[in-house]
Symmetry: C3
Subunit: 164 residues, 3 copies
Protein backbone atom coordinates (compact mmCIF):
# COMPACT_ATOMS: atom_id res chain seq x y z
CA UNK A 1 0.00 0.00 0.00
CA UNK A 2 1.29 3.41 -0.96
CA UNK A 3 4.38 1.68 -2.29
CA UNK A 4 6.48 3.68 -4.63
CA UNK A 5 4.81 6.84 -3.39
CA UNK A 6 8.05 8.25 -2.12
CA UNK A 7 9.12 8.94 -5.66
CA UNK A 8 6.50 11.66 -5.85
CA UNK A 9 6.31 12.72 -2.21
CA UNK A 10 9.11 14.56 -0.63
CA UNK A 11 8.58 14.85 3.06
CA UNK A 12 11.54 17.13 3.59
CA UNK A 13 10.15 19.53 0.97
CA UNK A 14 6.80 19.44 2.71
CA UNK A 15 8.46 20.30 6.01
CA UNK A 16 10.03 23.34 4.34
CA UNK A 17 6.72 24.40 2.81
CA UNK A 18 5.23 24.27 6.29
CA UNK A 19 8.10 26.36 7.62
CA UNK A 20 9.18 23.55 9.93
CA UNK A 21 12.70 22.62 10.95
CA UNK A 22 13.35 19.29 12.61
CA UNK A 23 15.25 19.53 15.87
CA UNK A 24 18.30 17.35 16.37
CA UNK A 25 17.24 13.95 17.70
CA UNK A 26 16.99 14.22 21.47
CA UNK A 27 19.16 12.05 23.67
CA UNK A 28 17.06 9.80 25.90
CA UNK A 29 16.58 11.17 29.40
CA UNK A 30 17.62 7.79 30.79
CA UNK A 31 19.06 4.34 30.07
CA UNK A 32 17.52 3.38 26.75
CA UNK A 33 17.69 4.22 23.05
CA UNK A 34 15.41 6.55 21.12
CA UNK A 35 14.30 3.99 18.55
CA UNK A 36 14.57 0.36 17.50
CA UNK A 37 13.93 -1.17 14.07
CA UNK A 38 12.46 -4.66 13.95
CA UNK A 39 11.66 -6.00 10.50
CA UNK A 40 10.11 -3.04 8.70
CA UNK A 41 8.69 -1.56 11.89
CA UNK A 42 10.34 1.39 13.57
CA UNK A 43 9.44 1.81 17.24
CA UNK A 44 10.15 5.29 18.61
CA UNK A 45 10.50 5.89 22.35
CA UNK A 46 8.19 8.34 24.06
CA UNK A 47 9.35 11.84 23.14
CA UNK A 48 9.00 14.90 25.33
CA UNK A 49 8.40 18.48 24.16
CA UNK A 50 12.10 19.31 24.32
CA UNK A 51 12.98 22.57 22.58
CA UNK A 52 16.01 23.26 20.37
CA UNK A 53 18.08 23.87 23.52
CA UNK A 54 17.23 20.38 24.77
CA UNK A 55 15.08 21.76 27.55
CA UNK A 56 11.34 21.84 28.06
CA UNK A 57 10.00 25.37 27.84
CA UNK A 58 8.17 26.36 31.03
CA UNK A 59 5.03 26.80 28.92
CA UNK A 60 5.13 23.08 28.05
CA UNK A 61 5.48 21.84 31.60
CA UNK A 62 2.74 21.06 34.07
CA UNK A 63 -0.78 19.67 33.92
CA UNK A 64 -3.55 20.35 31.48
CA UNK A 65 -6.51 21.60 33.44
CA UNK A 66 -4.01 22.94 35.97
CA UNK A 67 -1.13 25.28 35.11
CA UNK A 68 -1.32 24.64 31.37
CA UNK A 69 -3.90 26.02 28.94
CA UNK A 70 -5.15 23.98 25.99
CA UNK A 71 -3.24 26.00 23.38
CA UNK A 72 0.04 25.43 25.20
CA UNK A 73 -0.78 21.73 25.51
CA UNK A 74 -1.42 21.43 21.77
CA UNK A 75 1.81 23.29 21.09
CA UNK A 76 3.63 20.87 23.39
CA UNK A 77 2.10 17.91 21.52
CA UNK A 78 3.28 19.45 18.28
CA UNK A 79 6.84 19.77 19.60
CA UNK A 80 6.68 16.12 20.75
CA UNK A 81 5.66 15.12 17.22
CA UNK A 82 8.60 17.03 15.73
CA UNK A 83 10.90 15.22 18.15
CA UNK A 84 9.38 11.89 17.09
CA UNK A 85 10.09 12.82 13.46
CA UNK A 86 13.64 13.82 14.33
CA UNK A 87 14.13 10.26 15.58
CA UNK A 88 12.56 8.82 12.44
CA UNK A 89 14.95 10.93 10.38
CA UNK A 90 17.90 9.72 12.45
CA UNK A 91 16.73 6.11 12.08
CA UNK A 92 16.00 6.17 8.37
CA UNK A 93 18.22 8.91 6.98
CA UNK A 94 15.32 9.87 4.73
CA UNK A 95 11.77 10.55 5.82
CA UNK A 96 10.52 9.47 2.40
CA UNK A 97 11.23 5.91 3.49
CA UNK A 98 8.21 6.15 5.81
CA UNK A 99 5.54 4.02 4.14
CA UNK A 100 3.00 4.54 6.88
CA UNK A 101 2.67 6.18 10.25
CA UNK A 102 1.17 3.15 12.01
CA UNK A 103 0.39 4.45 15.48
CA UNK A 104 0.93 7.36 17.82
CA UNK A 105 0.49 6.99 21.56
CA UNK A 106 -0.37 10.21 23.34
CA UNK A 107 0.12 10.71 27.06
CA UNK A 108 -1.37 13.90 28.48
CA UNK A 109 -0.27 15.11 31.90
CA UNK A 110 -3.53 16.34 33.40
CA UNK A 111 -5.64 16.90 36.45
CA UNK A 112 -8.21 14.15 37.12
CA UNK A 113 -11.17 16.07 35.68
CA UNK A 114 -9.57 17.14 32.38
CA UNK A 115 -11.28 15.06 29.71
CA UNK A 116 -10.35 17.06 26.59
CA UNK A 117 -7.21 14.97 26.08
CA UNK A 118 -7.96 14.14 22.40
CA UNK A 119 -7.97 17.84 21.49
CA UNK A 120 -4.52 18.24 23.04
CA UNK A 121 -3.13 15.22 21.19
CA UNK A 122 -4.46 16.65 17.92
CA UNK A 123 -1.51 19.04 18.09
CA UNK A 124 0.63 16.01 17.24
CA UNK A 125 -1.79 14.17 14.92
CA UNK A 126 -2.67 17.19 12.80
CA UNK A 127 0.98 17.99 12.24
CA UNK A 128 1.85 14.43 11.24
CA UNK A 129 -1.04 14.28 8.76
CA UNK A 130 -0.11 17.72 7.39
CA UNK A 131 3.43 16.51 6.77
CA UNK A 132 2.79 13.00 5.46
CA UNK A 133 -0.66 13.27 3.92
CA UNK A 134 -2.47 9.95 3.38
CA UNK A 135 0.37 7.81 4.70
CA UNK A 136 0.37 9.96 7.84
CA UNK A 137 -3.09 8.76 8.85
CA UNK A 138 -2.36 6.77 12.01
CA UNK A 139 -4.02 4.70 14.68
CA UNK A 140 -3.91 6.39 18.05
CA UNK A 141 -4.55 5.95 21.75
CA UNK A 142 -4.66 8.97 24.02
CA UNK A 143 -4.82 8.85 27.79
CA UNK A 144 -4.58 11.33 30.61
CA UNK A 145 -1.81 10.40 33.02
CA UNK A 146 -0.84 11.31 36.56
CA UNK A 147 2.61 12.56 35.66
CA UNK A 148 5.29 12.50 32.94
CA UNK A 149 9.08 12.65 32.87
CA UNK A 150 10.41 16.12 33.75
CA UNK A 151 6.82 17.28 34.40
CA UNK A 152 6.28 17.50 30.62
CA UNK A 153 2.72 18.39 29.61
CA UNK A 154 2.70 15.77 26.83
CA UNK A 155 4.64 12.68 25.72
CA UNK A 156 4.22 11.05 22.29
CA UNK A 157 5.49 7.64 21.15
CA UNK A 158 5.31 6.27 17.63
CA UNK A 159 5.35 3.21 15.40
CA UNK A 160 6.20 3.52 11.70
CA UNK A 161 6.33 1.18 8.72
CA UNK A 162 9.57 1.79 6.86
CA UNK A 163 10.68 0.88 3.35
CA UNK A 164 13.68 -1.36 3.96
CA UNK B 1 -0.35 -21.30 14.18
CA UNK B 2 -4.07 -21.76 14.03
CA UNK B 3 -3.79 -21.45 10.27
CA UNK B 4 -6.69 -22.72 8.33
CA UNK B 5 -8.75 -22.62 11.48
CA UNK B 6 -11.17 -20.14 10.04
CA UNK B 7 -12.67 -22.85 7.91
CA UNK B 8 -14.09 -24.43 11.06
CA UNK B 9 -14.54 -21.35 13.24
CA UNK B 10 -17.13 -18.86 12.45
CA UNK B 11 -16.74 -15.83 14.63
CA UNK B 12 -19.88 -14.16 13.37
CA UNK B 13 -21.88 -17.28 14.25
CA UNK B 14 -20.32 -17.23 17.69
CA UNK B 15 -21.35 -13.60 18.12
CA UNK B 16 -24.91 -14.58 17.30
CA UNK B 17 -24.83 -17.51 19.72
CA UNK B 18 -23.75 -15.06 22.40
CA UNK B 19 -26.59 -12.73 21.46
CA UNK B 20 -24.14 -10.01 20.52
CA UNK B 21 -24.46 -7.45 17.76
CA UNK B 22 -21.46 -5.48 16.67
CA UNK B 23 -21.99 -1.73 16.64
CA UNK B 24 -21.06 0.23 13.54
CA UNK B 25 -17.39 1.16 13.66
CA UNK B 26 -17.07 4.39 15.61
CA UNK B 27 -15.63 7.47 13.96
CA UNK B 28 -12.51 8.64 15.77
CA UNK B 29 -13.16 11.47 18.21
CA UNK B 30 -10.28 13.39 16.68
CA UNK B 31 -7.74 13.63 13.84
CA UNK B 32 -6.67 10.04 13.30
CA UNK B 33 -7.96 6.77 11.87
CA UNK B 34 -9.48 3.87 13.78
CA UNK B 35 -7.01 1.23 12.57
CA UNK B 36 -3.91 0.66 10.48
CA UNK B 37 -2.68 -2.58 8.91
CA UNK B 38 1.07 -3.13 8.70
CA UNK B 39 2.16 -6.47 7.31
CA UNK B 40 -0.19 -8.95 8.95
CA UNK B 41 -0.63 -6.83 12.07
CA UNK B 42 -3.77 -4.79 12.61
CA UNK B 43 -3.36 -1.95 15.10
CA UNK B 44 -6.66 -0.64 16.46
CA UNK B 45 -6.89 2.81 18.04
CA UNK B 46 -8.08 3.14 21.61
CA UNK B 47 -11.83 2.60 21.63
CA UNK B 48 -14.26 4.21 24.04
CA UNK B 49 -17.48 2.67 25.41
CA UNK B 50 -19.59 4.41 22.78
CA UNK B 51 -23.11 3.05 22.58
CA UNK B 52 -25.15 2.39 19.42
CA UNK B 53 -26.10 6.09 19.37
CA UNK B 54 -22.42 7.06 19.24
CA UNK B 55 -22.56 8.49 22.75
CA UNK B 56 -21.18 7.26 26.03
CA UNK B 57 -23.94 6.23 28.39
CA UNK B 58 -23.79 8.19 31.66
CA UNK B 59 -23.28 4.87 33.45
CA UNK B 60 -20.01 4.37 31.54
CA UNK B 61 -18.58 7.78 32.34
CA UNK B 62 -16.51 8.80 35.33
CA UNK B 63 -13.98 7.19 37.58
CA UNK B 64 -13.85 3.72 39.04
CA UNK B 65 -13.65 4.04 42.77
CA UNK B 66 -15.52 7.31 42.36
CA UNK B 67 -18.84 7.71 40.58
CA UNK B 68 -18.64 4.32 38.85
CA UNK B 69 -19.24 0.93 40.40
CA UNK B 70 -17.25 -2.14 39.33
CA UNK B 71 -20.14 -3.74 37.43
CA UNK B 72 -20.61 -0.62 35.35
CA UNK B 73 -16.87 -0.47 34.73
CA UNK B 74 -16.81 -4.06 33.49
CA UNK B 75 -19.80 -3.35 31.28
CA UNK B 76 -17.97 -0.31 29.88
CA UNK B 77 -14.90 -2.48 29.15
CA UNK B 78 -17.17 -4.93 27.36
CA UNK B 79 -18.61 -2.18 25.19
CA UNK B 80 -15.07 -0.99 24.40
CA UNK B 81 -14.19 -4.53 23.29
CA UNK B 82 -17.22 -4.65 21.00
CA UNK B 83 -16.13 -1.35 19.50
CA UNK B 84 -12.63 -2.77 18.97
CA UNK B 85 -14.19 -5.75 17.18
CA UNK B 86 -16.33 -3.45 15.06
CA UNK B 87 -13.09 -1.88 13.83
CA UNK B 88 -11.55 -5.29 13.17
CA UNK B 89 -14.63 -6.19 11.15
CA UNK B 90 -14.37 -2.94 9.20
CA UNK B 91 -10.66 -3.57 8.59
CA UNK B 92 -10.91 -7.22 7.57
CA UNK B 93 -14.42 -7.63 6.23
CA UNK B 94 -14.49 -10.99 7.97
CA UNK B 95 -13.66 -11.66 11.61
CA UNK B 96 -12.60 -15.21 10.71
CA UNK B 97 -9.48 -13.67 9.22
CA UNK B 98 -8.26 -12.98 12.78
CA UNK B 99 -5.52 -15.53 13.40
CA UNK B 100 -4.72 -14.26 16.85
CA UNK B 101 -5.71 -11.51 19.22
CA UNK B 102 -2.15 -10.41 20.04
CA UNK B 103 -2.62 -7.75 22.69
CA UNK B 104 -5.20 -5.62 24.40
CA UNK B 105 -4.26 -2.46 26.25
CA UNK B 106 -6.69 -1.47 28.98
CA UNK B 107 -6.89 2.03 30.39
CA UNK B 108 -9.09 2.42 33.44
CA UNK B 109 -10.20 5.90 34.52
CA UNK B 110 -9.93 5.68 38.30
CA UNK B 111 -9.27 7.42 41.57
CA UNK B 112 -5.73 7.02 42.90
CA UNK B 113 -6.56 4.30 45.40
CA UNK B 114 -8.54 2.02 43.08
CA UNK B 115 -6.30 -1.01 42.49
CA UNK B 116 -8.88 -3.51 41.15
CA UNK B 117 -8.18 -2.42 37.58
CA UNK B 118 -7.60 -5.97 36.26
CA UNK B 119 -11.10 -7.03 37.28
CA UNK B 120 -12.55 -4.12 35.32
CA UNK B 121 -10.52 -4.95 32.22
CA UNK B 122 -11.75 -8.54 32.42
CA UNK B 123 -15.02 -7.23 31.03
CA UNK B 124 -13.13 -6.84 27.74
CA UNK B 125 -10.83 -9.87 27.98
CA UNK B 126 -13.52 -12.34 28.94
CA UNK B 127 -15.69 -11.27 26.03
CA UNK B 128 -12.85 -11.54 23.51
CA UNK B 129 -11.95 -15.02 24.73
CA UNK B 130 -15.61 -16.05 24.70
CA UNK B 131 -15.90 -14.94 21.08
CA UNK B 132 -12.59 -16.16 19.67
CA UNK B 133 -11.74 -19.11 21.91
CA UNK B 134 -8.07 -20.17 21.87
CA UNK B 135 -7.02 -17.60 19.31
CA UNK B 136 -8.60 -14.93 21.50
CA UNK B 137 -6.08 -15.50 24.29
CA UNK B 138 -4.15 -12.24 24.31
CA UNK B 139 -1.30 -10.46 26.02
CA UNK B 140 -2.49 -7.52 28.06
CA UNK B 141 -1.41 -4.49 30.02
CA UNK B 142 -3.87 -2.71 32.28
CA UNK B 143 -3.24 0.58 34.00
CA UNK B 144 -5.27 3.05 36.01
CA UNK B 145 -5.16 6.49 34.44
CA UNK B 146 -5.91 10.04 35.56
CA UNK B 147 -8.45 10.69 32.83
CA UNK B 148 -9.74 9.48 29.46
CA UNK B 149 -11.31 11.10 26.42
CA UNK B 150 -14.88 12.27 27.07
CA UNK B 151 -14.53 11.16 30.71
CA UNK B 152 -14.98 7.54 29.58
CA UNK B 153 -14.60 4.98 32.37
CA UNK B 154 -12.53 2.65 30.15
CA UNK B 155 -10.55 2.74 26.89
CA UNK B 156 -9.30 -0.39 25.11
CA UNK B 157 -6.77 -0.61 22.26
CA UNK B 158 -5.86 -3.75 20.35
CA UNK B 159 -3.35 -5.52 18.15
CA UNK B 160 -4.40 -8.46 15.97
CA UNK B 161 -2.65 -10.90 13.65
CA UNK B 162 -4.64 -11.16 10.44
CA UNK B 163 -4.63 -13.72 7.68
CA UNK B 164 -3.62 -11.67 4.64
CA UNK C 1 21.49 -7.50 12.83
CA UNK C 2 23.22 -9.28 15.67
CA UNK C 3 22.38 -12.52 13.93
CA UNK C 4 24.39 -15.45 14.99
CA UNK C 5 25.42 -13.59 18.09
CA UNK C 6 23.81 -16.11 20.34
CA UNK C 7 26.60 -18.52 19.56
CA UNK C 8 28.95 -16.31 21.53
CA UNK C 9 26.52 -14.76 23.99
CA UNK C 10 24.98 -16.83 26.64
CA UNK C 11 22.31 -14.91 28.42
CA UNK C 12 21.80 -17.55 31.05
CA UNK C 13 25.51 -17.45 31.87
CA UNK C 14 25.31 -13.69 32.13
CA UNK C 15 22.40 -13.99 34.54
CA UNK C 16 24.54 -16.27 36.71
CA UNK C 17 27.50 -13.88 36.58
CA UNK C 18 25.16 -11.16 37.80
CA UNK C 19 23.96 -13.41 40.60
CA UNK C 20 20.42 -13.34 39.25
CA UNK C 21 17.85 -16.10 39.29
CA UNK C 22 14.78 -15.87 37.14
CA UNK C 23 11.53 -16.36 39.00
CA UNK C 24 9.01 -18.84 37.66
CA UNK C 25 6.80 -17.15 35.08
CA UNK C 26 3.94 -15.48 36.91
CA UNK C 27 0.38 -16.50 36.23
CA UNK C 28 -1.64 -13.56 34.93
CA UNK C 29 -3.72 -11.86 37.61
CA UNK C 30 -6.74 -12.04 35.34
CA UNK C 31 -8.24 -13.44 32.13
CA UNK C 32 -5.40 -13.25 29.65
CA UNK C 33 -2.09 -14.88 28.80
CA UNK C 34 1.38 -13.68 29.74
CA UNK C 35 2.73 -13.47 26.20
CA UNK C 36 1.86 -13.91 22.55
CA UNK C 37 4.19 -14.55 19.60
CA UNK C 38 3.27 -13.02 16.26
CA UNK C 39 5.77 -13.55 13.48
CA UNK C 40 9.13 -13.00 15.14
CA UNK C 41 7.72 -10.55 17.67
CA UNK C 42 7.07 -11.60 21.24
CA UNK C 43 4.61 -9.38 23.10
CA UNK C 44 4.80 -9.72 26.89
CA UNK C 45 1.90 -8.64 29.09
CA UNK C 46 2.47 -6.01 31.75
CA UNK C 47 4.37 -7.66 34.60
CA UNK C 48 4.08 -6.69 38.24
CA UNK C 49 6.86 -6.82 40.86
CA UNK C 50 5.74 -10.21 42.11
CA UNK C 51 8.28 -11.89 44.36
CA UNK C 52 9.26 -15.59 44.38
CA UNK C 53 6.20 -16.29 46.55
CA UNK C 54 3.93 -14.82 43.91
CA UNK C 55 3.10 -11.86 46.09
CA UNK C 56 4.11 -8.22 45.92
CA UNK C 57 6.37 -7.30 48.79
CA UNK C 58 4.91 -4.44 50.85
CA UNK C 59 7.99 -2.40 49.94
CA UNK C 60 7.00 -2.60 46.26
CA UNK C 61 3.42 -1.47 46.76
CA UNK C 62 2.08 2.06 46.78
CA UNK C 63 2.88 5.31 45.06
CA UNK C 64 6.21 6.88 44.27
CA UNK C 65 6.30 10.29 45.86
CA UNK C 66 3.93 8.89 48.47
CA UNK C 67 4.57 5.76 50.54
CA UNK C 68 7.41 4.53 48.30
CA UNK C 69 10.95 5.88 48.17
CA UNK C 70 12.90 6.01 44.92
CA UNK C 71 15.22 3.12 45.79
CA UNK C 72 12.26 0.83 46.47
CA UNK C 73 10.66 1.96 43.22
CA UNK C 74 13.79 1.11 41.25
CA UNK C 75 13.98 -2.24 42.99
CA UNK C 76 10.35 -2.87 42.05
CA UNK C 77 11.09 -2.00 38.41
CA UNK C 78 13.99 -4.45 38.52
CA UNK C 79 11.72 -7.21 39.81
CA UNK C 80 9.21 -6.41 37.06
CA UNK C 81 12.02 -6.77 34.49
CA UNK C 82 12.98 -10.16 35.91
CA UNK C 83 9.36 -11.23 35.63
CA UNK C 84 9.29 -10.03 32.02
CA UNK C 85 12.39 -12.14 31.35
CA UNK C 86 10.82 -15.14 33.05
CA UNK C 87 8.01 -14.88 30.48
CA UNK C 88 10.50 -14.56 27.63
CA UNK C 89 12.23 -17.68 28.90
CA UNK C 90 8.91 -19.51 29.09
CA UNK C 91 8.03 -18.37 25.56
CA UNK C 92 11.36 -19.15 23.91
CA UNK C 93 12.89 -21.88 26.01
CA UNK C 94 16.23 -20.15 25.53
CA UNK C 95 16.97 -16.50 26.20
CA UNK C 96 19.73 -16.58 23.58
CA UNK C 97 16.98 -16.62 20.98
CA UNK C 98 16.31 -12.95 21.81
CA UNK C 99 17.70 -11.01 18.87
CA UNK C 100 16.66 -7.63 20.23
CA UNK C 101 14.78 -6.14 23.12
CA UNK C 102 12.54 -3.90 21.01
CA UNK C 103 10.58 -1.92 23.57
CA UNK C 104 9.79 -1.68 27.25
CA UNK C 105 6.76 0.20 28.50
CA UNK C 106 7.08 1.47 32.06
CA UNK C 107 4.12 2.40 34.19
CA UNK C 108 4.93 4.12 37.47
CA UNK C 109 2.29 4.36 40.19
CA UNK C 110 2.85 7.86 41.53
CA UNK C 111 1.40 10.96 43.10
CA UNK C 112 0.59 13.75 40.64
CA UNK C 113 3.73 15.79 41.36
CA UNK C 114 6.29 12.98 41.06
CA UNK C 115 8.15 13.65 37.83
CA UNK C 116 11.24 11.46 38.36
CA UNK C 117 9.54 8.52 36.66
CA UNK C 118 12.43 7.82 34.22
CA UNK C 119 14.85 7.24 37.12
CA UNK C 120 12.48 4.64 38.57
CA UNK C 121 12.10 2.86 35.25
CA UNK C 122 15.89 2.72 34.93
CA UNK C 123 15.75 -0.07 37.49
CA UNK C 124 14.28 -2.19 34.68
CA UNK C 125 16.22 -0.74 31.73
CA UNK C 126 19.63 -0.92 33.39
CA UNK C 127 19.09 -4.56 34.29
CA UNK C 128 17.98 -5.53 30.79
CA UNK C 129 21.00 -3.81 29.24
CA UNK C 130 23.32 -5.41 31.80
CA UNK C 131 21.95 -8.84 30.89
CA UNK C 132 21.67 -8.54 27.11
CA UNK C 133 24.34 -5.97 26.25
CA UNK C 134 23.95 -4.29 22.85
CA UNK C 135 20.87 -6.26 21.86
CA UNK C 136 19.29 -5.18 25.15
CA UNK C 137 19.20 -1.53 24.09
CA UNK C 138 15.49 -0.86 23.79
CA UNK C 139 12.99 1.83 22.92
CA UNK C 140 10.98 2.92 25.91
CA UNK C 141 8.02 4.96 27.05
CA UNK C 142 7.58 5.75 30.73
CA UNK C 143 4.52 7.36 32.24
CA UNK C 144 3.24 8.08 35.71
CA UNK C 145 -0.16 6.50 36.28
CA UNK C 146 -2.98 6.95 38.75
CA UNK C 147 -2.97 3.33 39.88
CA UNK C 148 -1.78 -0.18 39.00
CA UNK C 149 -3.07 -3.71 39.56
CA UNK C 150 -2.72 -4.81 43.19
CA UNK C 151 -1.40 -1.33 44.07
CA UNK C 152 1.96 -2.30 42.54
CA UNK C 153 4.52 0.52 42.45
CA UNK C 154 5.59 -0.38 38.91
CA UNK C 155 4.40 -2.39 35.91
CA UNK C 156 6.60 -3.21 32.91
CA UNK C 157 5.52 -4.60 29.52
CA UNK C 158 7.84 -5.70 26.73
CA UNK C 159 8.27 -6.42 23.04
CA UNK C 160 11.08 -8.65 21.81
CA UNK C 161 12.41 -9.78 18.45
CA UNK C 162 13.00 -13.52 18.56
CA UNK C 163 15.04 -15.82 16.36
CA UNK C 164 12.40 -18.20 14.98
Amino acid sequence: MLMGSHATNNVERRLKELGLTLPGPAAPVAAYVPYVMTGDLLVVSGQLPLGPDGKIDAAHRGKLGGAIFNEAGQAAARVCALNVLAQVKAATGNLDRVRRVVRLGGFINCVPDFSAVPAIMNGASDLIIKIFGERGRHARSTIGVAQLPLDAAVEVEGMFEIEV
